[in-house]
Amino acid sequence: MRRASLWLPFAIFVIFFGVVTYGLIKPSDHVITSKMIGKPLPQFALQPAHDGQAGLTNGAFSGGQPRLLNIFASWCIPCIAEAPVLMQLKSMGVEIDAIAIRDKPEDVARFLERNGNPYTRIGSDTVGKVQISLGSSGVPETFVIDGKGIIRHQHIGDIRADDIPEIMQALEAAK
């Protein structure tokens, strides 16, 4: 018994070594994924963020067909990079709704004019309330919502051209 307990410090060090080795080799990611995947969208009703386009409610996602819910902002730089890819998705027949975070209508209008407007509806979340209720941790983010309003997939960061298959696959799976 006495003998074994002498090896205790060494054993603790071995555990420490294992844990930090894992810390060194794992790809360092600081992404916090939403835990809402598989759950229904929370209830929300957002005012329009852009003149001439409808605002957004969670009811818009129970139409039977899967849709994308894009979280963006006019002040977010990666959102500019993402815009052409969203336009491409739209041209492939994907329905995209959006929530503009902490944004003014005039800024949203300028952003859409400059970068294109792939959105069917745009809700304005001026205090990030809906964003938080979705478990989203930044902009841009995109959720795939199935026809019954259940969240099926989350894409964190801007969607690039090579992410299109991933998004299409998620939409297909949500059918």
């Binding site: 410090p9 060494f10 844990v19 930090v20 894992y22 810390g23 060194l24 360092s28």
Partner: protein, 641 residues
């Protein structure tokens, strides 16, 4: 030429370290104690050479020699000389060179001044110190060379973030490093003693001043770091249980425990194996702390550039030194008898409880810091461990520790009688009762931890002075004064923490110019707002007049600064210290209504936290001086405390 000379010195020093280890090894293995003079000479020479190498790097920074890559990347010719000087260790390579310099210099100091230890143990100690140095020399020379040239040399350097040009930041890291690396000596003593199986009171007495010295630096480093975060971050917090903070707290906890256990070993020849283990653990925690910060595996993306090569190199060194020492411990310590047993009611009994509790706190901080990483490794789930956990677990144990601290110094060595101890405790108990009464009258609802903290602070304040009662103060040994001052410092610091937590007044408000707001005992008037400009920033500066009763108003000017390159906004808090607390004011952003956000805090007695920290370190200093004086008077410190 200076850079090449510095690199050459480093290589020669590394070669000497290898010789030091080799010669020491042979001498110990063959029992040739007469080799001691040779090992001593090499250790001294190694220390001198590595120090010269570090001086060469300082010189390069002072001369802004941009042909050296490290200088070009971290300095600028227009910087004030103080920050050029401090820039030497304000980067990875420079700080690792500082690390080996302290290792080498500490080794020379042991070689020069240590006379009481048995020759064979001293040789083994110096060999262990050399073994430590060799690893870090290798790290520097093969993966972090500070003297690399840059061809072609740039016209000027990239400079240092202006925000990092702060006197606190300039001297905080080296202070911590002196503490971290100072513990290497205790580690080497322990390894040396394990090799020669020679753990006895003489060994403890030889190790004690080193532990004390390192502990003073660690205490100062943590105290200064806490104050620096407090005034710089602008949210008024002084301890966040951040992984990087925990990395500096863990060595301190282990060293504090060691400081107390080494006294038991020196005085009563007990806790032999435990003291050796703590000496190994204390320096291991220093290395672990450095690794956690340098590898960046725990702090977020914002902290340091994560370099897997450096991280792996450091981890390999950790495995060799910590794993090696732990193995040596398991193999050898069985042959070291644990020494005498104690009565539960005795000074040494109290010190054992002290060690038990300090080690438990160390364990909590260690597990809490690494737990998220462990959980992610095993289950993939992400988890955070923060203040609620640490406060709920380490908090009560700390308070219990403080309770033992009241009683411990009043107990006699060997054996005491409970009834007599209680009698001696009468006055601290009375103090606690008075504090309780005052608290219940003044403030019924401040939370359990602050409440207990204030109570115990009162008890410790008096309890710590108790050993002086009935003594001739002039003839009281200096190290007893040291203990009294350090323990009193704990009371002061604890009172500050409890008072700040329990009685803080926070006002967050949007305000127009001209309005007044009540913050604690002050009426703060938002008197004006003016633009001001600095060298690389512009700022809005609020003028706030804080008036207390009918007294003269205090004028505070917090700023909201906009830096141009890179575009960054920061808040410069305005802090004013008065006798019974601090007023801490921050100017935020403007709201669309035209009003300005103000963050205002009244923090009663918050400065006691750092004053106490300073007193703890000063107590350590008194004890250190006292030990030296007595050792000189009584010839080689044979006297038993």
């Amino acid at each position: 030429m200076i850079a090449e000379a510095g690199l050459g010195l480093l290589w020669i020093a590394a070669a000497l370290a290898i010789m030091q280890l080799g010669l020491g090894w042979v001498a110990v293995a063959r029992g040739r104690d007469e080799q001691i003079s040779g090992v001593r000479a090499i250790a001294v020479a190694q220390g001198i050479l590595v120090t010269l190498s570090f001086l060469a790097l300082i010189l390069l920074f002072l001369r802004s020699d941009m042909s050296v890559a490290l200088v070009a990347a971290n300095s600028h010719s227009a910087k004030p000389w103080l920050y050029k000087f401090a820039g030497t260790w304000g980067n990875h390579e420079g700080s690792m060179l500082l690390w080996v310099t302290i290792l080498g210099a500490a080794g020379s100091a042991v070689a020069l001044f240590e006379r009481s230890l048995k020759a064979s143990t001293l040789i083994a100690t110096l060999a262990a110190q050399a073994a430590l140095s060799i690893g870090f020399y290798a790290f520097l020379l093969f993966s972090s060379n500070p003297f690399t040239r840059l061809v072609p040399a740039p016209a000027d350097g990239q400079g240092l973030n202006p925000l990092l040009q702060d006197p606190g930041l300039a001297f905080h890291p080296p202070t911590l490093y002196f503490g971290y690396v100072g513990m290497s000596v205790a580690f080497s003593f322990a390894v040396g003693a394990l090799v020669t199986r020679d753990v006895d009171p003489a060994f403890a007495r030889a190790m004690r001043p080193w532990v004390l010295g390192a502990w003073i630096f660690l205490t100062l480093g943590i105290t200064a770091g806490s104050y620096w975060a407090y005034y710089e971050l602008g949210w008024g917090g002084w301890w966040f249980w951040d992984p990087v903070e925990n990395a500096s707290l863990m060595p301190w906890l282990a060293t504090t425990a060691l400081l107390h256990s080494v006294t038991v070993l020196a005085t009563r020849d007990g806790l032999r194996a435990w003291t050796v283990m703590l000496a190994v653990v204390a320096f291991s925690m220093s290395m672990v702390g450095t690794f956690l910060v340098r590898s960046g595996i725990l702090t977020s993306v914002h902290s340091f550039a994560v370099d897997p090569t450096r991280g792996s190199f450091l981890l390999a060194l950790l495995a060799i030194y910590i794993g090696g020492a732990m193995t040596l411990f398991a193999l050898r310590i069985g042959t070291v008898r644990e020494g005498s047993q104690f009565d539960l009611v005795s000074r040494e009994g109290a010190l054992v409880v002290n060690n038990l509790l300090l080690s438990a706190i160390l364990g909590i901080v260690f597990v809490g810091t690494l737990y998220p990483l462990g959980v992610e490794a095993v289950t993939g789930e992400k988890l955070s461990v923060g203040p609620p956990y640490f406060n709920a677990t380490a908090g009560p144990i700390t308070l219990f520790l403080v309770l033992v601290m009241i009683a411990g110094p009043l107990m006699r060595w060997r054996r005491d009688r409970l009834a007599v101890v209680v009698q001696r405790l009468a006055i601290p108990i009375l103090a606690i009762a008075v504090a309780l009464l005052v608290l219940v009258l003044v403030s019924p609802d401040i939370g359990i931890l602050p409440f207990m903290g204030l109570l115990l602070a009162g008890g410790v304040a008096l309890g710590s002075l108790a050993p002086l009662w009935g003594r001739n103060l002039r003839r009281t040994p200096l190290f007893t004064w040291g203990m009294v001052v350090a323990h009193f410092g704990v009371a002061v610091s604890l009172a500050g923490m409890a008072s700040e937590t329990g009685f803080i007044k926070e006002v967050l408000i949007a305000s127009n110019v001209g309005e007044s707001h009540r913050v604690g005992p002050y009426d703060v008037k938002f008197a004006g707002l003016d633009p001001v400009a600095g060298p690389n920033w512009t700022a809005l500066e609020a003028t706030l007049e804080a008036r207390r009763g009918n007294g003269e108003p205090l004028i505070l000017k917090p700023q909201s600064r906009m830096f141009s390159n890179p575009p960054t906004e920061t808040n410069e808090a305005a802090i004013r210290t008065v006798l019974d607390g601090q007023l801490y004011l921050v100017l935020g952003k403007q709201e669309p209504s035209g009003r300005w956000q103000l963050r205002m805090w009244w923090k009663p007695f918050v400065t006691l936290i750092w004053l106490g920290g300073g007193m703890i370190a000063f107590g350590g200093f008194l004890a250190l001086v006292g030990r030296f004086r007595r050792d000189r008077l009584s010839g080689r410190g044979r006297a038993i405390a």
